[in-house]
């Protein structure tokens, strides 16, 4: 019973942390983007605009909820829920610190750690696609439908390359358990031997979260605003939260797989973890400020014809290395 | 601990529901989904038997079934799209170019 309670407590803490991170992130993004573009960014609410995210949240909560005429109501409400729930659940297996000892119990710093942890993460994130495709379909709006189909096609395509880019790490670590992968990096982070895998992963992670320069599903000029054109208020906020939490999740996974997880000198491990993730978040914003959007066919061709073969070759090379040379 | 036969009975129930679905539904997509339901019911049986005998053959079988099912769905959906691209409704009863 104690185990169940601990899991529930950890889950609650994590959910609160992630939602706070979402608030902070939106604000940071707006401020940092402002700097990139030589403008101040939000600066009215609170000191230096620091309460802007509260104002934004309040606005979204108080807005009128609109359900389009002719929409499939149940599915229309279900779609953002799926997105958010999948985003929150995916984080559950990521160890963001070494196990701690509290009240005579050893508590691992992730919520659940099946020995197939990383596959579980991929399985859950693959369910997030339903939010987009169902949101697009249930709106009864052709822009939404096309946006939903586009983004889900994009996510499915890049999921393959992403999964394959990780295979190299799994082979090198000899385990699919994220804790084992972290401890395998005590001496050398996998970013060094698996640099190709890392680069592919980074590209895929941007595409998976539908962020610039891969934010085609939201391409305003052709799709209005993609799958969430018809969404307002809290339902829109849920999509929005899902996107930012997904960014945190993929960054955390990148940290765990390639940057040694919570390993680091001097500072406490949890702080190291947060620093590394924050670096990735800054990278996301930087990309958005710098790069123009890709064309859809180019995007798909890049995923299938470049990333996938290279990731495959990388996995093969790692397998050969581990089984022939390193043995 | 639930007896393993419960899992098998559940699997039989799901398989029967799938079978009825194939026979009753007229929309090819829904027929196809019912078929997937049958295949997955079989997967549950395989895993239960594998647990019974602590024998990995059942697991390998399920893995292969999932792979094959994915390929089959890809081909099947492509065929359904080819057939119904130009039609208004998807209904197998309307496929009557051949007298049958």
């Amino acid at each position: 019973m104690a185990a169940v309670i601990i899991i529930v407590i950890k889950g609650l803490i994590l959910a609160v942390l992630l939602l706070t991170a979402f608030g902070v992130l939106t604000l940071t993004e707006r401020k940092v983007l402002g700097r990139f573009q030589f403008r101040p960014g939000p600066n009215r609410v609170g000191p230096g605009g620091s309460f802007q995210f509260l104002a934004d949240g309040l606005k979204l909560m108080l807005k009128e909820e609109i359900i389009p005429n002719g929409a499939d109501r149940f599915v229309f409400l279900l779609a953002p829920t799926i997105s958010l729930v999948a985003a929150l659940f995916a984080f559950a297996v990521i160890p963001w610190g070494p196990p701690i000892h509290l009240f005579g119990q050893t508590i691992p710093m992730e919520i659940g750690g099946p020995n197939v942890g990383i596959l579980f993460l991929f399985a859950i994130t693959s369910l997030g696609v339903y939010g987009l495709i169902l949101g697009g379909w249930s709106s009864q709006n052709k822009y939404s439908l096309l946006g939903g189909l586009r983004s889900s096609a994009q996510i499915i395509s890049y999921e393959l390359a992403m999964g394959l880019s990780v295979v190299g790490v799994l082979i090198a670590a000899g385990s699919a358990d994220l804790n084992n992968i972290v401890s395998a990096q005590t001496n050398l982070w996998f970013i060094v031997p698996q640099i190709i895998g890392f680069l592919i992963y980074v590209v895929c992670m941007v595409a998976e979260t539908n962020r610039a320069p891969f934010d085609l599903p939201e391409a305003e000029n052709e799709l209005v605003a993609g799958y969430h054109t018809e969404y307002t208020g809290m339902k829109f906020a849920m999509f929005f939260m899902a996107e930012y939490i997904n960014m945190v999740t993929v960054s955390s996974l990148a940290t765990t797989l390639f940057l040694g997880g919570w390993h680091g000198p001097w500072l406490p491990p949890e702080i190291w973890f947060i620093i590394k993730v924050a670096a990735f978040m800054f990278f996301f914003i930087w990309l958005r400020a710098t790069l123009p959007r890709l064309r859809y066919d180019r995007l798909m061709a890049f995923g299938w014809k470049v990333l996938l073969p290279v990731a495959l070759a990388n996995a093969l090379a790692t397998a050969v290395w581990v089984s022939v040379v390193a043995r | 601990m639930v007896p393993l036969s419960y899992y098998l009975i559940l699997s039989a129930l799901l398989f029967s529901i799938g079978t009825v679905g194939v026979l009753v539904r007229r929309n090819p997509l829904q027929m196809f989904m019912s078929i997937e339901l049958m295949w997955n019911a079989v997967n549950l049986s395989f895993i239960t038997f594998a647990r019974q005998y602590t024998n990995m053959a059942g697991h390998v079988f399920v893995f292969l079934v999932i792979t094959v099912a994915a390929a089959e769905v890809a081909i099947g959906l492509a065929i359904i799209v080819v057939v119904f691209r130009t039609r208004e409704h998807a209904d197998v009863d309307e496929l009557n170019a051949m007298k049958g």
């Binding site: - | 090819p28 053959a57 079988f61 094959v68 099947g76 496929l95």
Partner: protein, 481 residues
Amino acid sequence: MNFPVINPLSVLPEIILLATSIVALFIALFLPDRRGHQLNYLGLVGVLAAIAVLPMLWAKVEVGFGGAIVSDHFALAMDAAILVSALAAFLLGLREVEPGADYVALVLWAALGMMVLTSAVELLSIFLGLEVLSLPLYVLAGFRRDRTTSKEAAMKYLLMGAFSSGIFLYGLAFLYGATGKVSLASIQAAILQNFTSHPLFLEIGAGLVAVGLAFKLALVPFHQWVPDVYEGSPTPVTAFMSVGTKAAAFGALVRILTVALPAGIVHWQPLIAFLAVLTLLFGNLAALRQTNMKRMLAYSGIAQAGYLVVAIAANSQMGVGAGMFYVVAYAFMNIGAFAVVAALSGQNEEGAEIASYRGLAYRRPWLAVSMTVFLLALASIPPLVGFPGKFYILRAAVSSGGVLLAIAIVVGTMISLYYYLRPVLLMFTHSEETESPFPATAHWTAHVTVGVMLAGTLVLGILPGLLTGPLQNAVHAIYGL
């Protein structure tokens, strides 16, 4: 980790087919228009090469992949029938389907699946064989995407095929569940030692496996898809799948029911015998009222599958031998008949109606005479190959005490005389029309096919001993496992 002994010799014909398909796909990358005859001839060469190695493998039983697959005489004999039907798919394909690398590869893969199905002796490989067989055929049935009938055939075949695969799979699950084993030999051993967790599991397993394969064999009442699919599919594909699938499903049924489950004979034999009688009577009766040649041949194929299953119901070495002979005989007669249909029709199957065969003997004597021979063989008129084929099955049925089965065969044959002879009479009836409904010429490969099948039908009909000797070995081979 113990890696199994792979023994490439055990899957040599399969490897040849796979290699040919890969080469074809690669060559297609460099061809300017990607459609054309060259690749079709490549496929032809691949199949011929596979046929050529069969006698070489005949000398010795090869076991491969740690006992998952066996290349024994039974498998090789079935492979021969399958490869002959694949040959027909290539020889007849030039006119009607505009073969490209995709056509070549899909036919080769389907043939590969059929061959695996007849030689696999372990449940997982059997299932994979069945799927490698089925998936390409779904696509091939719809290969003429411009024809509504072809598209509809593909979809009906797909839905019924996936449905039956599900039933078959459930049967395999119960066979596995009864013993915890997946190789046929160890299932058999477990049954013989009375080590089955539950006897009913075996019965249900055998029943579901039989029903699943009954769909593929087109047995009544699991036959509804057959006429539409056979009519709608391009004729070369129909010829290929009508023979190849039956040979493969027959092989799997023999291996599973009579080799792995001889102990359960009392349970599955009545089911099989019942299906056989139903198929014989219904198939022949339904063929009577067909006006389309391909549909008529489809119903005739259903009836022919009934004869084949009688051989299994006899559950004896004699029965299996008779069934194998009938598979080979059916390959020659049936592919011959479809070859004539393909030779007569052009790109769009003009004049597949039986009525348009009127007076054919005066316009296209060679094809008309060949068609006559094939139809008479299907009606089992001596001295054509259908006659000894049916005679052996009849003998096996009688000697195993299946008098009712024997009567059903005789009744069915008598009914079939009517619909086989009607087109023959029509072809030799003088027609007033000067305009032929058929295009002027056929591709030479179609004539080659007709010639080869004609030779087989005649030679084996007069000298059945050529085949029965080797087949006797084959029967000993599977029972000797």
